[in-house]
Amino acid sequence: MMKYLFMRQLNKQRLCCLSLVFLILIFLPFASIYQNYTAAHAYDLLNSEEKFLYDVMQTLTEPLVSDPVQLDALKGTTWSARIGGYKISDPLAVVSQSFASWSWNPSFAATALIPLLVSLLAGRIFCGWICPATLLYELNTNFALFLNKLGVPIHRWHFDRRLKYGVLISGTLITMLSGLMILPAIYPPAIVGREIYYAIALDGFSISTIFFVLTMMADTFIARRGFCRYLCPGGALYSLLGRYRLLRIQRKVSVCNDCQRCDSICEFGLEPMSDQFGQECNNCTACIAICPTDSLQFHWTPVDQPYQGPGHQGRQYVAANTDLIATDTRSSCCE
């Protein structure tokens, strides 16, 4: 019972995790400005807003660090970051950097080792639990529903999911040929991290903000989570890495009642009720949280189950079995 309660709370914990990542991304540029102010010993020269920022940051960080320089322990974005003494990079950063420079830097590649191992274990878990764009995209999904409620037409068009592999391959090829790192320019988590920094520390946005807003509009009016599902190069890489992931959500058909709530809640348009998870599942656990019979659970297995048929608690299965019993009864009666 406790296990099921815990599993049901995972989605909330995930939202907390996403919010925390987002808040850290907002905190870091403020910390950087604060470090500049302290390094310059320029408090008297700051204007009133800057003094306010300095005072707030001092109050916030004083319990954590004795010297603002120690704030360097946490730096970067989800694209590439330093946490304590460890450097962690998105595997896509390593791919981009390696192909752009036509060189292999083992120490840089090693920074992607943890995300790589986690992806091999749990697939697109970065997309569901860490990606700062996911939080905005999920909020945007509800915003689309809100608009729809107000009478604004929204569409749920479907495209081929393999499109994103094309984006990944073509982006990598352009990177190889031009030496320009094109992938982080169209990769939402890199954009969000970067733009937050620009907005706070450098007082402006780059053109990527417009690109990101366009992806959100496409998600609203064309296809739910369309960018993540059909175009995201990072999503493509994580999907490939998670093809044979060990941790998967599976349906326990004996308790499933075919309510379809899992299918409707899945942001990625997967069909848990039909045992269709594939390599796209980002382990967001929304389906686990909404399942009224706790039929969806995590399992250690490298492959998905084939379609198990309708849930045994569902009308279709019950009706079929009732019919079977009736037939048997009739036939035995006739005998």
């Binding site: 400005i33 320029a42 509800n142 529903l145 809100f146 907005a199 450098l202 946005f205 809640i265």
Partner: protein, 200 residues
């Protein structure tokens, strides 16, 4: 350097951004550059606190200083510009034209403030702004028929931190978050209905 629109845009966006981020750091060293004596940084000092930016362009090392550090409208201020050759350390000795460009969104206003000769190794330009705002001070000079344009940011008065683009993004964010709060638990029901609708 030249007047290509993309380069101008780059200068307007990137250079001021980088400069602004460095301002607080640079200002402490403002009075030590080029062997100048260190003044008191007190507001009551005869020499008010300055804001300084150092940069390198072509063969020149440029130091730009604004007095006071945070000028206000209708208050006189001045710019001191030092242009020194990187290799031989010679001072550039010709005319420098100072222009002011309104750095606000959708504004292309620009005016020449004045053209100055060197005075004791410094190009000095006084100014009085009528309105608060964000401006770029462009120093233009030519050396061996090569034109140089250097843009420096200048904020006059205390401005609202909420600018048009920031405001737009904030409005978008508040709308999205607000709609989510309004939807609350009904979002799940709406998803369920939308799914059924898309199936039929």
């Amino acid at each position: 350097m030249n007047n290509l629109p993309c380069l101008t845009a780059l200068r307007r966006i990137v250079l001021p951004s980088v400069m602004l981020s460095c301002l607080s750091y640079q200002s402490v060293f403002a009075h030590h550059v080029l062997g100048r004596p260190a003044y008191s940084l007190n507001e009551d000092s005869n020499t008010p606190p300055s804001m300084a930016v150092e940069t390198q362009i072509g063969d020149f090392f440029i130091t730009y200083m604004v007095f006071p550090a945070f000028p206000k409208s209708a208050q006189p201020g001045r710019i001191n510009l030092y242009i020194q050759g990187i290799d031989e350390g010679r001072y550039f000795n010709d005319k420098v034209t100072f222009l002011v460009i309104d750095d606000a969104f959708f504004s292309d206003r620009q005016e020449v403030i004045g053209t100055q000769d060197i005075d004791d190794g410094v190009y000095r330009q006084g100014f009085v702004f009528k309105e608060d705002g964000e401006y770029l001070i462009r120093a233009h000079f030519e050396d061996n028929e090569v034109p140089y344009d250097i843009d420096f940011p200048l904020q006059v008065g205390e401005l609202s931190p909420v600018k048009p683009l920031v405001a737009t993004v904030l409005v978008l964010l508040f709308t999205i978050v607000g709609s989510n709060l309004l939807m609350g638990k009904r979002a799940q029901l709406a998803k369920f209905r939308a799914h059924r609708k898309s199936e039929t």
